[in-house]
Point group: C2
């Protein structure tokens, strides 16, 4: 994947705790894919209860990487998120970074506002790079994994979906995946929503999506794909408190360092295993239905 900014924009979906002190590999990708040191970068801290502290961290890390035009987009209310001057800044941004915190707070404040519209314009109209980490990562898909924890095995308690920003469709994203042992939670979502491909992203790991072209895994861990579309299951029949039967879930583990490029036509993709090709086509769609 070329580090130059493409016309269709990149998405960087980060599993949380990306390195901000040492090599900062993921943030360096973000700066490069936004256009380099001169890129206009907006850091949206609306997910966190500690926006100033979070901004300080990213301001320093991105500055260390040479990014000289970083701005803090600080939103506390939906009124803030409809302010025209902030929306204009986001619409003009070359790179937009959604920090961690709570994805429910992020969507409650930004969902459907002028800032939401502005982010999509930046992405679609001039190919901005949109990155999200932890809560910011979960928020990037149309169906957002909002909460659900507790049990180690499916069904996990209180797993719920909400509406996310929809930069990706037909997927559901979980973060801190291996570190917080979230397979059971992602299996629960996929069992109940086999339409969605589950993407579990480890800490300090990012799925970098180049629309129409391919994906790359950057960082230290791996991306786990849970694909239940050809699964057989009794999830619709069993009580929500009971463990469902799941037969033939497909699991892929994509380690950091791997790149998967899509060819110009299906023939050029013969080297890709069909279930992986299917995943790649899904996440690299240029215009996902919203």
């Amino acid at each position: 994947m070329s580090p130059q900014r493409g016309p269709s924009g990149h998405l960087i979906v980060i599993g949380g705790h990306e390195d901000r002190q040492c090599d900062k590999a993921i943030l360096a990708h973000f700066v490069a894919l936004s256009g380099g040191p001169d890129a206009r970068i907006a850091v949206v801290t609306a997910a966190t209860a500690h926006p100033e502290q979070t901004w300080d961290t990213y301001c320093k890390a991105l500055g260390d990487l040479g990014a000289s035009h970083c701005e803090h987009i600080h939103i506390e209310t939906r009124e803030d998120a409809n302010r025209a001057e902030l929306a204009a800044k986001l619409a003009d941004a070359d790179g937009i970074f959604l920090t961690g915190g709570d994805q429910k707070r992020l969507l409650a404040n930004l969902g459907g506002t002028e800032l939401d519209t502005a982010m999509h314009r930046a992405f679609k109209e001039h190919g901005a790079c949109i990155a999200g980490t932890s809560a910011g990562a979960s928020a990037m898909s149309g169906h957002m994994l909002a909460e659900g924890d507790g049990l180690d095995r499916p069904p996990t308690e209180g797993v719920s979906l909400r509406a996310g920003f929809g930069f990706l469709q037909r997927v559901v994203i979980d973060q801190h995946f291996s570190e917080r042992h979230r397979l059971a939670r992602l299996l629960t979502v996929v069992a109940q929503n086999p339409y969605l491909q589950g993407i579990g992203i480890d800490e300090d790991t990012a799925l970098v999506i180049d629309r129409g072209l391919g994906v790359e895994v950057v960082g230290q861990g791996a991306v786990t794909i849970i694909d239940g579309r050809s699964m057989l299951s009794n999830a619709a029949e069993v009580d929500q408190c009971d463990t469902p039967e799941l037969i033939d879930v497909r699991l892929h583990l994509l380690p950091a360092g791997k790149r998967y490029e899509l060819g110009a036509d299906d023939h050029a993709n013969d080297h890709l295993p069909p279930p992986l090709l299917d995943f790649l086509k899904n996440v690299t769609k240029r215009n996902p239905a919203s």
Copy 2:
């Protein structure tokens, strides 16, 4: 599955911490499949460093279930494990229970001894029921997951296989599966040994195997099957410290309460999904190669 003892013997593979106080559902299955209250039951404590305490627990629990002929097979050395009178007791047993502890200790003391031979005779010649919990469960397969812990994602550190008792072949068993978050460990084993189907068993959960006939999941949790035989992987090329790429691992989740019966011929198995049928045929083989 009938609770009567079959001519070919049952295997009960338990994920550890089976209930010994309340309904004791798994131990009740063990007593029933051994032949009921009059069954000659042998409790082998060779895996544990606390054999007397472990025996006391099982003696009481099995007694509460009506088993009136329970005996403690206490082994401290390989010499003990070659004692003719102990071997005779095991060969005559209707039910043999391998307790938890350390599977390396268990195999180091029993592997290849007269007691090992006697257990196989009991199983094959008069259809004894062989149960193992935790370390005792891991020890039941030919390739035994001996150790390996640490990292949350593949490759986990120091995963190693040793030779187990071989009541099951072409599988590798892990226990305390969901509770100790052992997916990464089982994926590591399967990535390195795709010949083996991974079986992860939750605590207070058992995979009950009726040779030639089918399986049943008993208890509170689930059995997770990890099948990497059609997987694509670079595990052979990457450094052992690096995360391998895994494409198209099949995962099945079989919850407690489920029974899967094999028909008399392939036509009678049309209702079973092929990947599950394949697993069932493998684990229910009457005479696995050793």
